[in-house]
């Protein structure tokens, strides 16, 4: 058994001081390899009033995170928690860390009276789709329409 497999998993709220560790993890293992920027993460405001993000620590080291934000969306017009993205260090996968991160998030939302959680998953990300379905998320008829600016 490697040292990485030892130690208990601690799930806690993300704070601004976690930004560098979260970015490093995303840079190293993220799908988009660094799709998160310091500016974007600062703007999301870990620890702020609209932030609902959590990190997973093993032996004091951040090995996973889920970034979430409180928002109002048009349909239905309610306060919702939006899941922005999640990542677990591959060396620590298979230990239920993703499930624990989501479990803590659901528990927190429930305690705050936030009754809807939405995860917007990219069409090609089958792995994440399967994961959220296992957690009881169901596909809704809501889709995004975008107008992007070139250049």
């Amino acid at each position: 058994m490697s040292t990485m497999e030892k130690g208990t998993v601690n799930i806690r709220r993300m704070t601004r001081s976690d930004i560098d560790a979260v970015l490093a993890l995303d840079e190293k293992f993220g799908r988009g390899r660094g799709s998160l920027s310091h500016k974007d993460l600062t703007a999301i405001g870990p620890g702020g009033p609209l932030d609902l993000s959590f990190v997973a620590e093993v032996g004091g080291k951040i090995v996973g995170f889920v970034i979430n934000r409180l928002a109002y969306l048009m349909i239905p017009f309610t306060e919702v928690c939006i899941v922005q993205g999640m990542l677990v260090d591959p060396d620590y996968q298979g230990r239920g860390i993703g499930t624990k991160l989501f479990g803590k998030l659901l528990e927190h939302c429930h305690s705050q009276g936030i009754n809807t959680i939405r995860a917007l998953v990219e069409e090609h990300n089958k792995e994440l789709q399967q994961f959220v379905q296992q957690l009881g998320f169901r596909r809704s008829p809501i889709v995004n329409y975008d107008k992007t600016f070139e250049g």
Binding site: L41, Q84, I114, E123, L135, I142, Y145, K147
Partner: protein
């Protein structure tokens, strides 16, 4: 044709001001027919509309006839900041005068000037009227799938 439609209409689009809140609420209630959606508290203290920097109203002959509430937001992957349309409403007495398109175009111009990458709206895919409007305005269907969990 109603008396309002016979008037020579001059539509003026301008940024939303806090003083517009009562007019916005009145239109919202006229559209929905019930006191359901936006509340005064939502507009004053909530995430809705943010600091109103991306929200506009349409005035016809000095009267607020429509509004668009939008804010900078992080919704879905990749984690980038977009201009998110939260609510678009036009007083039914002023429908079919291109007011919605003018409001959306004002938002697009502002978002482009603020260097945001895109403007996004979440739409129920069964709402062909709303989808049609945004397709007409150059929006395209994105690749996000919405998964929802209700607690």
């Amino acid at each position: 044709m109603t008396p309002i439609e016979r008037r020579e209409t001059k539509v003026r689009i301008r940024p939303m001001e806090p003083e517009d809140i009562d007019s916005v609420l009145a239109i919202d209630r006229k559209i929905t027919g019930v006191r359901r959606a936006i509340t005064y508290t939502d507009l004053i203290t909530g995430d809705l509309g943010g600091v109103l920097g991306l929200s506009f109203v349409a005035e016809v002959n000095g009267q607020v006839a429509g509004f668009i509430l939008a804010r900078r937001a992080y919704v879905g992957e990749p984690v980038t900041e977009v201009g998110l349309i939260q609510i678009l409403g036009v007083d039914p007495d002023y429908w079919r005068q291109g007011i919605a398109a003018k409001l959306v175009n004002a938002l697009l111009q502002t978002c482009r000037a603020k260097k945001l990458g895109a403007v996004r709206i979440m739409v129920n895919e069964r709402d062909s009227q709303l989808r049609g409007l945004f397709e007409h305005l150059g929006f395209t269907r994105g690749k996000l799938i919405d998964y929802t969990k209700t607690l």
